[in-house]
């Protein structure tokens, strides 16, 4: 199973920093994912620091594998200070440690209970309560659950469940029940909805509930969706040993999933080896990039380095809706879960001619950066193979 995870957040009205903090880390080798959502006391910078510290420390504890999630959470719970003014703890948190087989351990301290959805129904798992040794009114819930294909887990901060509190329609706020209604409606309307879309939907709906659409607290919604992975392959650059062209072209052909080619020479190579003609658009450039071309059995064919450089820039800046070759490649990447790069190591001397008006990056470096950002920022599983 692939774990599609994303978090959407909104700041409290008139604040310049998020008071909730979300971090997650994927471990491709262990097929494991750890994520933490923390809500800091108050709002703005103070809350941001508190939640950030809690979330990152907890993630560090768990991910180093030194301390199991339960003990790690207990240490944090026992050591979080109490605010002198309000006499409540400095931050609350939810943390999950799960793997591709669907085994998940979850701890919650102070945050609203997570929602577990399967086939449109909410499951109520049993949990163990652990009382803090140092603070009387502090306890955490520990869950050990087994997830199935199609399951979703939704974590949120109290900005979601308490939205609209005291307002006209919802005197007690949205509450967990209200959130469940929202979730069920949206999922029945769009059963395959991605985690990022669902998280954004929750946050926007919650904002609409608030008086004058001004959130009274920081809002965060984190969604995990356990589904079949969408595989994608990007073939870029000719192989270092030309005699291997055929072999690699066959691997490209046999790959099951979406396929893209980035590079003019590469496209010619695949076309020649697989005997598939290339068709061009009647345009030459779109938005300062060469136009895309078409090949049967390939989902996207673009130019190489320029398009990849621009794609990397879009991914870094979060510009995701541009209508040019790089924009199409961004969409191709983000619509996939497991991305494999086949990167040819052959260099074209002409690219390093000092007479060229712009500097052309080395393919390997761009792909390395792209793989990193796809992994860390967009939570994709990435595999790079050099050839």
């Amino acid at each position: 199973m692939f774990i599609d995870i994303d978090c959407s957040q909104m700041k409290k009205y008139n604040q310049n920093a998020y008071g909730d903090y979300f971090v997650s880390k994927r471990y491709p080798d262990e097929a494991r994912l750890v994520a933490v959502l923390s809500d800091g006391l108050g709002s703005g910078i103070k809350a941001n620091i508190l939640s950030c510290m809690t979330a990152t420390m907890l993630l560090q504890f768990i991910s180093n594998d030194q301390i199991p999630i339960r003990q790690a959470a207990e240490i944090v719970m026992n050591s979080l200070p109490v605010c002198k003014v309000r006499h409540i703890s400095y931050s609350t948190f939810s943390a999950i440690d799960c793997d591709d087989d669907g085994n998940a351990k979850i701890v919650e301290e102070g945050n609203p209970e997570f929602v577990w959805l399967r086939d449109g129904e909410v499951l109520e798992p049993s949990y163990e309560t652990i009382q803090s040794k140092t603070f009387k009114n502090r306890k955490m819930k520990v869950y050990k659950i087994k997830l199935r294909l199609g399951d979703r887990l939704i974590f949120c901060s109290d900005g979601v469940t308490q939205a609209g509190l005291g307002g006209g329609r919802l005197k007690l706020g949205l509450r967990r029940d209200g959130l469940i209604v929202l979730l069920k409606d949206k999922i029945s309307e769009n059963p395959e909805i991605s985690s990022s879309e669902l998280a954004n939907y929750i946050v926007n709906q919650v904002r609409n509930i608030e008086t004058d659409r001004r959130p009274k607290d920081d809002i965060s919604a984190c969604v995990l969706y356990f589904r079949k992975p969408r595989e994608a392959l990007i073939f870029t650059g000719p192989p270092y040993h030309q005699e291997k062209d055929k072999e690699y072209a066959q691997m490209f052909k046999n790959f099951e999933g979406k396929k893209a080619i980035c590079g003019g020479t590469t496209a010619n190579l695949i076309s020649r080896e697989l005997n598939v003609p290339i068709r061009m658009d009647t345009t030459i450039s779109v938005g300062k990039l060469p136009a895309i071309s078409y090949m049967d059995g390939v989902d996207l064919v673009t130019e190489g380095i320029l398009t990849l450089t621009k794609t990397l820039e879009y991914l870094e800046n979060g510009t995701l809706d541009i209508d040019n070759a790089a924009g199409k490649l961004v969409k191709f990447l983000l619509d996939s879960d497991c991305i494999q790069f086949m990167v040819g190591a052959k260099l074209n001397q002409a690219h390093y001619d000092p007479a060229l008006p712009i500097e052309i990056e080395i393919r390997k470096n761009i792909i390395k950066k792209m793989a990193g950002i796809l992994q860390d920022k967009y939570f994709k599983k990435v595999n790079v193979q050099y050839m």
Binding site: N268, M280, I284, S285, P290, I360
Partner: protein, 85 residues
């Protein structure tokens, strides 16, 4: 003349940064001038920049089998005219 003249503009990385992006107007001007006697299209790469002896003469355009180095709109139109003579 039965056979169409084919004009292929290289859209490989080198050619594109060396100016093939500026040949976009061929797509409009050529059909306007020559009707359906000439066909213009981009190609992913003509593979010419990587050959040493032609080094740094991009952008390249192919008019039928003739290679035009450091191509400009004028050079391409001239080459088409010669062929139509």
């Amino acid at each position: 003349m039965d056979k169409k003249i084919s004009v292929k503009v290289c859209l490989g990385t080198t050619c594109f940064v060396m100016g093939s992006a500026n040949l976009q107007e061929l797509i409009d001007t050529v059909p306007a001038k020559y009707g359906d006697k000439v066909e213009v299209s981009g190609v992913p790469c003509l593979g010419l920049c990587s050959i040493d002896w032609e080094f740094s003469k991009a952008p390249y355009v192919k008019v039928d089998d003739e290679v035009i180095k450091e191509a400009t709109v004028e050079k391409v139109l001239k080459a088409i005219d010669e062929r139509l003579k």
